[in-house]
């Protein structure tokens, strides 16, 4: 089934009568992308589920004020990234743990996760990704999995293209080193 265009969704969302219907179409169109964007950053399915719901509520609340400076997908990805990073920070504060302890917790859950592939190599890559600092992990996943152009990433992360390229380069290097060690 072909998804409606963003313009059509936005137009429908502008009318109070068709607002909910438009939101339903938006969800059908972007559900998977939203979930994947979040899950690549936080890894856990349960955490991702909470964040995805928060993201969708934010989209519902603020889509009316979407100015169209970027594409709808970029705008939604930005919300996903911000919500995910905020969630991680909150969780670390709640558990009273630092970055390293949080990373170790996530990595230790990977082998037993029923919502993750049992493939050893995929698990190893995922561990390598989770070992990256949060912002570098975001840069890596947006570029490597979503194949997002640097210019668009620049809009999502409010960072210069040069800085993003450098960050991605170091992320790839770290993952490669990790894979080589294991």
């Amino acid at each position: 089934m072909a998804h409606p265009t963003d313009e059509y969704i936005l137009e429908m969302f502008g009318s109070e009568k068709t607002k909910e219907q438009a939101f339903g179409l938006l969800m059908r169109k972007y559900n998977t992308e939203i979930y994947n964007s979040v899950r690549r950053i936080v890894y856990s399915h349960d955490d991702s589920d909470d964040i995805v719901q928060n993201v969708l509520i934010k989209v519902w609340k603020h889509l009316g004020s979407f100015r169209g400076d970027s594409s709808l997908k970029t705008w939604i990805t930005r919300i996903c990234v911000n919500e995910s990073l905020t969630f991680i920070e909150k969780k670390k504060r709640m558990l009273q743990i630092d970055d390293e302890e949080y990373m170790e917790r996530v990595i230790s859950n990977i082998p037993d996760d029923t919502h993750f592939s049992s493939d050893q190599i995929l698990q190893l890559v995922q561990k390598g990704i989770q070992m990256l600092p949060e912002k570098q992990r975001v840069v890596f996943t947006l570029r490597y999995y979503d194949e997002m152009p640097y210019e668009e990433m620049s809009k999502v992360l409010d960072t210069s293209v040069g800085a993003l390229k450098t960050s991605y380069h170091f992320a790839v290097k770290k993952i490669e080193e990790f894979l080589a060690k294991h």
Binding site: K19, I57, V125
Partner: protein
């Protein structure tokens, strides 16, 4: 360095871009249903919030208008009082009203005295004496029982009777013995 990076990318790419994670069966449908329910609640909340906001705005506006009117009336009254205090014409009028009031009061008091003086029981009327220092002293002088009795005692003597009547006439004062 470039060669090394290229080799790294090739290694990662050889693994593939498969994320590796899965979602529970029917997760997206369930999420859709859950979110549509949440959105309906959010919509109701927004409507309720708008109603509260509208009510608050109307109430605040009414309170602001009431406050404005109160302050304006208070300031105007104060201003008028100040103007009246500073205006010599109004002061003269106020003084004249005060003088007139005093005169009227004094006149009333003297009338009361006259009335009480011609009654048969001056003692009883003493309790109805008007206030006012001057009037009181006059009243007391005229209705003083001892004084009257002494005058009566003096004029009980027949030899003084005519003189007494004349004196009463002169004083425009009548006492029925």
């Amino acid at each position: 360095m470039m060669i090394n990076n290229h080799k790294t990318m090739k290694n990662l790419e050889s693994i593939g871009k498969e994320p590796g994670f899965t979602v529970p069966d029917g997760y997206y449908d369930e999420l859709y249903q859950k979110m549509m329910g949440k959105v309906a609640v959010e919509k109701q909340k927004t409507i309720h919030r708008k109603q509260i906001l509208r009510f608050s705005l109307v109430t605040s506006a009414a309170a602001a208008v009431a406050l404005f009117i109160t302050v304006t009336v208070f300031l105007k009254t104060d201003q008028v009082n100040q103007m009246a205090n500073n205006n010599p014409t109004i002061q003269v009028v106020k003084d004249s009203i005060q003088v007139t009031d005093q005169n009227v009061l004094a006149e009333n008091q003297s009338q009361t005295l006259e009335e009480s003086a011609i009654t048969e029981e001056p003692v009883a009327n003493k309790s109805e004496q008007p206030t006012g220092s001057n009037s009181v002293s006059t009243y007391e002088q005229l209705t003083d029982l001892n004084g009257v009795q002494s005058v009566v005692g003096f004029y009980e003597d027949d030899s003084h009777s005519d003189q007494f009547q004349e004196t009463l006439m002169d004083l425009d004062f009548y006492y029925d013995f």
